[in-house]
Symmetry: C2
Subunit: 506 residues, 2 copies
């Protein structure tokens, strides 16, 4: 058995079931091994950012890492932006990077680069496999590091000669590390407390515990603005999210003396603006982080006899079918048609502002957002989520600008027959830059008409783009058209795309 097979067999033994691959010449033995290991599904991606974003989506929904297969330093580089997003969401990912043979290092071959240095900023763990005999153990260590604590992106670099050398051995999976809830240090929780939830605390169990604490103490419970995975909708314990708007969020947190972080980080403004502080925590507020497992910690605080507030289904406005699409009306149509158990991927950016209000009381679903702000996550993440949960429909709300970072994910949607319905909110511009430009620069320059923020010359035709990669597609400009196309897409198996033309908001 060579090192490559030892790695793939060990990953499979540790529960890894999918490999998102964009291999190259130095990964030929790893590719061969991948195709030989039963139960490890190879999924070809046409760009590394698709592979890493899909691994993020898979890990968020499966709770287990997928493995990537990337080609040397430059392939890794193409995948780094979505690895950054996975790190921010603390998604377990085993990031497997092939490298040139150790005997080939230092010769100045075209692809030679410092793979470990490139991996470090977007990994919680990085190791280079040094020989075939221990390559299986290295793969097991990568899975353990990905699962944590703390968990995240574990990068394993495999030189080609480690992969092709004999004497590889399959290693046994490590026992999972369990986290205790830890102890609290700060004062009592009361009406002046904010419980800020993130990470695993945003699934139903954590939400229920937090809801019980809120009922018993009067504390305000909030979800972080950009959750990796949030369970929400009718029947799920209710939670409001921070909005991501620093002015509004600062106002919301004002007056609280005590901030308890349960799986979340202290809230900060995403972007710096001249003269504006970055922290959103009120001055003088005591910040306490729940150590260990935040869900267990919340359950220790909660009285199990109390019933948390549960979200009830709420009616949405009924509008005529010829209502033009807008951020608000798209959100309403999506919310109204969301199937029970759907997975909602949100990379709609500025066009997604109306989603939280519209979807909070829709049918029960999981919401995945872009925790790391590296755009180009949505389409790949939808692919990974669909592979993790083949029985659940995925709806991917995608912005036009963001869609153009990793458009080839659509080909993977088609190739794997994934039940993903992508709605491109096409406002023909980088609306977030127009909005921030006005906020930061005032009415000076560059104006909202800056050519650098304009995607309308030429217009992007997302219908043709999707069809070029085998995804059936159509256009919608009214709520009636969007509803019709959405229902049809949800009724048919396989991927679809709807180019939803919306006005720019700024």
């Amino acid at each position: 058995m060579n090192g490559a097979t030892a790695i793939m067999e060990s990953l499979r033994a540790a529960g890894v079931g999918v490999c998102f691959a964009n291999p190259g010449t130095s990964e030929l033995h790893l590719t061969a091994a991948l195709e030989d290991v039963p139960g490890l599904r190879p999924v070809l991606c046409l760009f590394e950012g698709v592979a890493t974003g899909a691994a993020d989506g898979y890990g968020r929904m499966a709770g287990l890492p997928a493995v990537t297969l990337l080609h040397q330093g430059v392939g890794l580089a193409n995948g780094l932006a979505n690895l950054h997003n996975a790190m921010r969401a603390a998604t377990p990912v085993v990031n497997l990077v092939g490298d040139g043979a150790t005997t080939h290092r230092g010769l100045g071959a075209p692809l030679e680069s410092d793979v470990a240095a490139l991996a470090a900023p977007m990994s919680c763990w990085t190791r280079t496999a040094t020989n075939a005999a221990t390559a299986g153990e290295a793969a097991i260590a990568a899975v353990a590091a990905a699962l944590g604590p703390p968990g995240g992106v574990a990068t394993l670099i495999v030189p080609a000669d480690v992969a092709w050398s004999p004497a590889g051995r399959v290693a046994l999976p490590a026992a999972p590390v369990s986290r205790s809830p830890g102890s609290r240090s700060a004062g009592p929780i009361g009406p002046d407390t904010v419980l800020l939830l993130g990470g695993p605390a945003l699934l139903a169990r954590g939400l229920a515990a937090a809801g019980r604490v809120a009922r018993a103490t009067g504390a305000l419970v909030l979800a972080e603005a950009f959750p990796g995975r949030l369970e929400q909708g009718a029947g799920v314990p209710a939670v409001d999210r921070l909005s991501g708007d620093p002015v509004g969020d600062r106002r919301r947190l004002a007056g609280h003396a005590h901030l308890v972080l349960a799986g979340a980080s202290a809230p900060v403004a995403a972007f710096a603006r001249p003269g504006m502080p970055g922290e959103l925590t009120p001055p003088g507020c005591v910040v306490e982080r729940l150590d260990g497992d935040p869900v267990a910690a919340l359950e220790e605080l909660a009285d199990p006899g109390i019933r948390p507030a549960i979200r009830a289904a709420a009616p949405l406005p009924v509008r005529p079918a010829d209502t033009p699409l807008s951020a608000t009306t798209v959100a309403e149509v999506v919310a109204a048609h969301l199937p029970d158990g759907a997975i909602l991927v949100d990379e709609a950016n500025t066009s997604g502002v109306a989603l939280p209000a519209a979807t909070a009381a829709a049918a029960r679903h999981d919401l995945l957002t872009n925790s790391g702000f590296a755009i180009g996550l949505g389409l790949p993440m939808a692919a990974g989520a669909a592979l993790a949960c083949p029985d659940r429909p995925v709806i991917c709300l995608e912005a036009d600008g963001s869609a153009m970072y990793t458009p080839s994910a659509l080909w993977t949607h088609a190739r794997e027959g994934l039940d993903v319905t992508t709605i491109v909110l096409n406002n023909r511009g980088y609306a977030i830059l127009r909005r921030e430009s006005r906020r930061v620069l005032g009415d000076d320059a560059p104006s909202a008409t800056s050519a650098m923020f304009d995607l309308s010359a030429p217009d992007l035709d997302f219908v043709a783009l999707a069809m070029s990669m085998g995804v059936p597609a159509g256009r919608a400009t009214t709520t009636g058209e969007l509803a019709t196309r959405l229902k049809q897409a949800l009724a048919e198996p396989g991927p679809h795309l709807i180019d939803a033309v919306v006005p720019a908001r700024y």
Copy 2:
């Protein structure tokens, strides 16, 4: 004047004329400054890999750096693969990366990452601007570092508050550093010598000097396998290229006792294979590097009274118009219709093997290849070359797999009205992996039919893809169709794409 304007004005003063931009929220002041500086043309790219690849193409043809404008660590990451290619070609590029405000660092904002660490592996020079007063000087230093010697990618990181702070000053351009030809140390040049040319030695002046040396001494003159820029065609001093096939290249170099490197690196196999040495230089061969300016060094060696061998136009085979397309017949059609003064961008990979033979005696042109093997360079590089040389037609030979890394470059072709004709050699597979798989793994596994090397399920429709981004496109399956479409594309201004269906070669 704020730091952003100081940077842009200083770059302009140093001769930088184009900015390939994909800005984000932390680059708003830089974007505003960019749009305010006359003579600095902003070119919007929808993905950072397009911006960096375009800067590479621009720098190769202009001999002056373009500047990029990228968004924090993740935007830089998306551009790293093509920066790697630029480094390998020693192309001057000023790589401008915005970062969060210094006051925002350490807060854990979503986009925070270690920008300098990410830049280092693909840069010859990296600096973070520390205040507005010296930001202009930092920009000038970046231009000087990009131009070298040694030259390459100079990364300047600009925190948002350095860009928006007042007291910026425009700095004056640095005096160019000239290189002396240096002195030789090894024995006489004779019939047992190989003169291996790379970098600037591959333009007409260097080729002429090398041709004179060859005539006088009997030395073998060769060009490196993957030149950044090679002048060739009828009327240009003749030079043969190494093929990039390690077996053939080793055979070609065998028996030579003396290798003189003029702007080139010692030849190595691009990929390691089990049991095969990486170096291609014959055992015992003395390797000598011409220090300093390789063109001046060659001219010192050459007798100006000798006339170098000049390439004469050579007839190409005439084939019936219904001849199916293949790597060979595509190369013949391209060579036959290449306009005088064209720029030929080659990222055809395995489908490009017939190009050197077919184009060597075509009309005079510049050939740009992928020196760094990070695929996804062709379409962006064509954009940059077209902007550097607006009066010269650009023909971009692109492989189907490679095209899918940076497809949005087509939108920039359309937006800027660039005279680029892209021919996608569409063999519906990663043919290079099929070929290497057979060479490395034998007939074992994965077979040439590995699903990981297959791009045919579903087929990629490059006509629809191009049209989705505003580029007129058509398909060709015969030499007659390709010739007709190519002539039409060359006769019309603006970009075109031809989806040339070719059989897979492996």
